[in-house]
Amino acid sequence: MSSTIATDSHGLSDSWTIGERVCAALMPLIAVVEVLILTVTGCFSYCPCISIIDQNHKCTYTAKDFAILADETRFTVEEVEALHVLFKRLSSSLIDDDSIHKEELQLALFQTPYGKNLFLDRVFDVFDQKRNGVIEFDEFVHALSVFHPYAPMDEKIDFAFKLYDLRQTGFIEPEEVKLMVVAILIEFDMNLPDDLLEAIVHKTIADADKDNDGKISREDWKAFVSRNPSLLINMTLPYLKDITSVLSSFVFKTEAKP
């Protein structure tokens, strides 16, 4: 049996191309160069903004990155740092890899990583702008920026529309409204007959559908929300106005960990 293995491995090395052999030879050298580059860019140096992160975590964000994110959003650098603390906690809850997986978001929102949830899927998809199946820190900050109390109303309206446009057709259709209502009622342990569901959906579409095409366009939605501003109640997170103090006790506790 051992001879077979030897033969196989020998045969394998014989089949390598010149390119592959060069690659194999240079691999350690590339690794050394990479370490040098990372050292020069300061990722291994002491970074106050991420001092609270466990040392075994992979470090990907610098003070400069935080400053850039602060410029792009409504948050200050300190607030971005505080959000990073929250992000680290969420992203390491199941898989410690500096990104929030759907199960981790589900765990954070519903205290369980299991089960299918229509709304969770939508929230996750809208947060995951790069469409790579995880929420990275920059996506997390950009998305939460919309929820800031001082974020422009148009951003909130647009974000809500994206959430409710389940099939991403550019319209909120009656079937989508019905799906959401059913999901809500399940959340409330309620089971309504179909005619009642239809009545709720029909009334809602009729209220919002200005151009009478049987579905809600972006323009319809904007007009509807301006008449009913309470529809954006879930598009504002009051905590974000003072995120540093909201998370301060949490940051302190994390720093105190060995």
């Binding site: 519903f110 809602t204 919002a208 879930n234």
Partner: protein
């Protein structure tokens, strides 16, 4: 009392919010109601204008209601106010918190002679007082005797005629003939005072015996027995009680005992305390005159109020699922200060149930339409706990209820929600905490 359910949909007549029907005839019904200005409960007798006009009784009814409105006797259910719409006359009555007197007998059997005498004395007080003012009952029966913690209240004085069915005009009795005097049954016409005394005698017999003096399977046999006053007293009746009953249940209205003689009877006088009360001076009948006036001025309308309608998106945006608050609450140990639940109960019933749960917990309740403020009367960790409540209509039979802490301690708010609402609503509602947290 407050446990009485209120009918689906909120109907207001003047300042009164109408609730469930608690009594019904062909042309009149009695509804439980609430004065929205002061929160007091009342009963409203609703008469059909057409019916009263058809019987040519408008003038007589107005006269009797006016007289009754001036009566303020502790043993008579008071008329508080009279309102009218184009089609109905609303007689607002004192609401008696307690059941019918005869529920007591149904539950516990006959009463002891002393207790029966006490109720009978109160009944005679009421009847005598009304008779002295020219108002006769004409239909004294168990349903019209209410017991409010040992105090007898006679309802329907002067109004029973107008509650009767169309084919039961002035000469006949409404409903069961067991309590009706022979002269009324014989359709010879009658004097209201003597026929009321007969009915009081039948009531006294039932209180002491636990069964009716005249009871036959057929109407013919029953009429015959009543006409001849064929009854026998059980052995446990005292001789004086038997003697008095013989005088009251006299088939001849002319020789039947009158109230002044009754008041002098030895058995009746035992432990008798004449009712002492002061008549209110500011009683007036202006509203009665207005209600019976032909003009359209001052007419009330029944208007139906509904909770604020909530469309699907308002329901969705209040959902826990589309809410990112929990990202922060879980991480920072914060406590929510709002809770919501859905219910398929009528909106008024939900309001009553919340009120019912809140009062024993020491909350003062302030209601306006489908909003309610619960104000704690004891000061907690952070002052008085206050909770704002609102009922929304999602669909005709689906409501969402929001409870929001507006003052006091958040943990106390949760405790109150858990203690009262979860216990109260466990069968019908799914309680659901959501939104808006605060640091304790």
């Amino acid at each position: 009392m407050s446990s009485m359910k209120v009918a689906k949909g909120r109907i207001l007549v003047g300042k009164y919010e109408l609730g469930k029907t608690i009594g019904e005839g062909s042309f009149a019904k009695v509804k439980f109601a609430r004065n929205v200005q002061n929160g007091n409960y009342v009963a409203i007798k609703i008469l059909d204008r057409k019916h009263v006009l058809r019987l040519n009784m408008m003038e007589q009814l107005m006269k009797e209601i006016s007289t009754m409105k001036l009566i303020n006797h502790p043993n008579v259910v008071r008329i508080l106010e009279v309102l009218a719409s184009k089609t109905k006359i609303y007689i607002v009555l004192e609401f008696v918190d307690g059941g019918e007197l005869f529920d007591k007998i149904a539950a516990n059997g006959r009463l002891k002679e002393d207790e029966a005498r006490n109720y009978f004395q109160q009944l005679i007080n009421a009847v005598d007082y009304c008779h002295s003012r020219g108002v006769y009952h004409r239909d004294l029966k168990p349903e019209n005797l209410l017991d409010s913690n040992g105090v007898l209240k006679v309802s329907d004085f002067g109004l029973s005629t107008y509650s009767q069915k169309e084919d039961e005009l002035l000469h006949t009795a409404c409903g069961t003939p067991n309590y009706v005097a022979p002269e009324v049954l014989n359709d010879r016409g009658y004097v209201g005072s003597t026929s009321d005394i007969w009915s009081c005698g039948v009531i006294l017999f039932v209180l002491m015996a636990g069964y009716l003096p005249f009871d036959e399977p057929t109407h013919m046999a029953l009429y015959k027995k009543i006409g001849r006053a064929e009854f026998s007293c059980p052995s446990w009746f005292s001789p004086q009680a038997k003697k008095l009953l013989k005088h009251i249940l006299d088939p001849n209205p002319l020789t039947r005992i009158k109230i002044p003689e009754l008041l002098e009877d030895e058995w009746f006088k035992k432990g008798y305390k004449p009712t002492s009360f002061t008549e209110e001076e500011d009683l007036n009948v202006d509203d009665v005159v207005v209600a019976f006036n032909e003009s359209n001025e001052n007419l009330v309308t029944e208007r139906k109020e509904k909770p604020v309608s909530m469309n699907a998106f308002e329901l969705i945006c209040r959902s826990q699922s589309f809410n990112l608050d929990s990202l922060f609450e879980k991480q920072t140990g914060q406590v929510k200060q709002e809770t919501s639940f859905t219910s398929q109960c009528p909106a008024n019933e939900i309001m009553f149930k919340i009120e019912e749960a809140a009062k024993p917990l020491g909350f003062n309740v302030y209601k306006r339409n489908y909003k309610m403020k619960l104000q704690g009367d004891k000061s907690g960790r952070k002052g008085h706990l206050s909770v704002a409540t609102e009922v929304f209509e999602v669909a005709p039979s689906v409501h969402m209820v929001e409870l929001r802490k507006t003052g006091g301690d958040t943990l106390e708010f949760h405790k109150a929600c858990e203690n009262s609402l979860s216990l109260l609503l466990i069968q019908k509602y799914k309680s659901h905490i959501r939104k808006s947290a605060t640091q304790i």
